[in-house]
């Protein structure tokens, strides 16, 4: 039971990171980015290359991978995002970029899936099972990142400006940096739940977006709450009715959209 709950929480934590990146980009730039999940996949593959091929220690490789992906995301995103794309066009644009990234990853890395072995604990403290310790670490790291984002947005000048109406160049760069960091961290943490392959991001994309809509489109807290709810629902259905696992999130989302038009903590009107 505790493993089931922890597993659902870990999955929900990863969905939350992706959902937060989506909402942040939506509120600051007014765009809908579907490329976040594949950005996470690229980060995870980069870390795999740095650790398994180059031979860097796992911690150092993870930090280097995160840094490279965040810097690359900020640099690459400037050109398309400064064009004041409307949401519908940005959605299509990011799908195109995500598919191109996935195709490139498949061509570069070839034989997958890989086992990254992130956060594997051989001798966990307090005599908890290794899997429980690993999932606990995933939840703790994701929660730490979410708290850091919340503190940044509430208690720093740049953070408070991010969600305001007048945005400086620096504030926009910081937003992109946060979105890249959230996506990259989600990709890395996802490797502890699913095997690392080029479709690893896709498996988390739909539940994360469902979390955004269930929680309330545009709400940062709603994104976290909705993602956790989606993960617990997904895990419960998979245990109770395994044959319905493939459509469980879709059914939840459709029900939520029809019964709660603005979601749990919705902010933005439907567009």
């Amino acid at each position: 039971m505790e493993l089931f709950l922890l597993s659902a929480l870990a999955r929900g934590a990863v969905y939350s990171l992706l959902a937060l990146g989506f909402v942040l980009l939506q509120r600051v730039f007014g765009i809908w980015s579907l490329a976040q999940a594949d950005l996470g996949m690229i980060a995870a593959l980069l870390v795999a290359a740095l650790t398994l091929t180059v031979g860097l220690p796992l911690g150092l490789g993870a930090l280097a991978g995160l840094a490279v992906v965040v810097v690359a995301f900020v640099a690459v995103s400037w050109a398309p995002f400064r064009r004041d794309l409307v949401p519908g066009a940005s959605l299509l644009l990011t799908i195109g970029l995500a598919l191109a990234a996935r195709g490139l990853a498949a061509a570069t890395w070839g034989d997958l899936p890989l086992a990254l072995g992130l956060f594997e604990v051989d001798e966990p403290p307090l005599a908890v099972p290794p899997r429980v310790a690993q999932l606990g670490l995933v939840v703790a790291l994701a929660a730490g990142l979410i708290v850091c984002l919340q503190l940044f947005l509430r208690h720093t000048i740049v953070g408070r400006r991010l969600l305001g109406s007048r945005l400086t160049l620096g504030a926009r760069s910081v937003t992109l940096g946060w979105a890249g960091l959230l996506a990259a961290a989600a990709g890395l943490l996802l490797t502890t739940i699913s095997p690392l392959e080029t479709a690893v991001g896709t498996s988390a994309l739909f539940p994360a977006l469902a979390g955004v809509l269930v929680g309330g489109n545009g709400s940062l807290r709603g994104a976290v709450g909705g993602s956790l709810l989606v993960a617990v629902w997904e895990g419960s259905v998979a245990v109770l009715w395994p044959s319905l696992a493939g459509v469980s999130v879709l059914a939840l989302l459709l029900g939520a959209l029809l019964l709660m038009p603005v979601g749990l903590l919705g902010r933005l009107p439907a567009r």
């Binding site: 195709g103 999130v249 989302l253």
Partner: protein, 314 residues
């Protein structure tokens, strides 16, 4: 300014007469598959361009049409009936899912993404090769007593006839009271999206576009022999989306021409075949950034188009 219609009628006539000019079976089947792709792109183009919505389930709907058709033809149904049943099945799936359109473009896009994932995962567990129980091309396209149409020529002309019929039908739909409620071409790119439109007309357009997708899948599977498990995923979706944007959202002829051109690319240049996802993804992104109204809106193409129509380039 002269109308483009006579040129298009002439082109359709030439296309119809191709088999009579001794074109071999293999090229005819390739053309039939490309025309089937164009049917699916046409459906998506109508939804994206006229209704201002984004559907990410079009490729999966092709899968629904393909698998239904293979299964029903294996049970003795002719292609015409089996493909119609596939289109009805796709429309049946799209009806409840399309209700998400009431909550806006993003909700519909996310829901169609989920639907596509669910469909692809279900179809992935079915052995498409054994569904029909024999070569589909030897089964009838249309069985009218002793008159039976089958084979490559029937596959090609069936796909062409379906495409022309759907173009005519879309033209009529756009001018119907329901079609006139749609926001029109370009609404996706000027930020209007679905705002201020009748959700029912957008909903019906979405359902119809899914049915078009299923028909495309049915026609394709007849020409190719059997449905391919992994062939209806995001790679195919990227091709369809790129065709719609490059062809010009809302342009029937543009969507068809772009789908045929993009589908032909890996056949003409086999070295790009392993990189189709990269190619279509980048083409989609570049087209959205530099010519969101389609390649025809670029200066050289505007000049050619104006010359064809007897006017002066703008």
């Amino acid at each position: 300014m002269r109308s483009k219609t006579p040129y298009l009628v002439l082109l359709a006539g030439v296309a119809w007469g191709l088999p009579a000019w001794g074109v071999a079976a293999e090229p005819l089947l390739v053309l039939a598959r490309l025309l089937a792709l164009a049917v699916a792109a046409l459906g998506l183009g109508i939804f994206v361009g006229w209704a201002g919505g984004v559907s990410l389930a079009q490729a999966a709907m092709m899968g629904v049409g393909a698998y239904c058709t293979a299964w029903l033809m294996g049970a003795g149904w002719p292609l015409l009936l089996a493909a119609s049943a596939g289109a009805v099945a796709a429309a049946g799936l799209a009806l409840p899912v399309g209700l998400a359109v009431r909550r806006g473009s993003l909700a519909l896009a996310v829901v169609t993404l989920g639907l596509a994932e669910a469909i692809v995962s279900v179809l992935g567990g079915i052995d498409g090769g054994s569904l029909a129980g024999g070569p589909l091309l030897e089964m009838p396209l249309l069985g009218l007593g002793p008159v039976v149409f089958s084979g490559p020529e029937a596959a090609y002309r069936g796909a062409l006839a379906a495409l022309l019929a759907l173009v005519a039908w879309a033209w009529i739909w756009h001018r119907s009271p329901w079609g006139r409620l749609l926001p029109g071409p370009g609404s996706l790119f000027d930020g209007r999206g679905l705002a201020g439109t009748s959700w029912r007309s957008v909903w019906i357009t979405f359902v119809l576009s899914c049915a078009f997708g299923a028909l495309g899948g049915a026609l394709e599977v007849y020409a190719s022999g059997s449905p391919v498990g992994g062939g209806y995923g995001l790679e195919r979706l990227a091709l369809l989306l790129a065709a719609v944007i490059i062809g010009g959202p809302g342009s029937l002829v543009g969507s068809i021409a772009a789908a045929v051109g993009l589908g032909l690319l890996p056949l003409v240049v086999p070295s790009v075949a392993p990189y189709q996802a990269v190619m279509y993804g980048l083409l989609l992104a570049v087209a959205l950034l530099y010519c969101p109204q389609g390649v025809a809106s670029l200066r050289p193409f505007r000049w050619v188009s104006a010359r064809v129509q007897g006017g002066r380039p703008r």
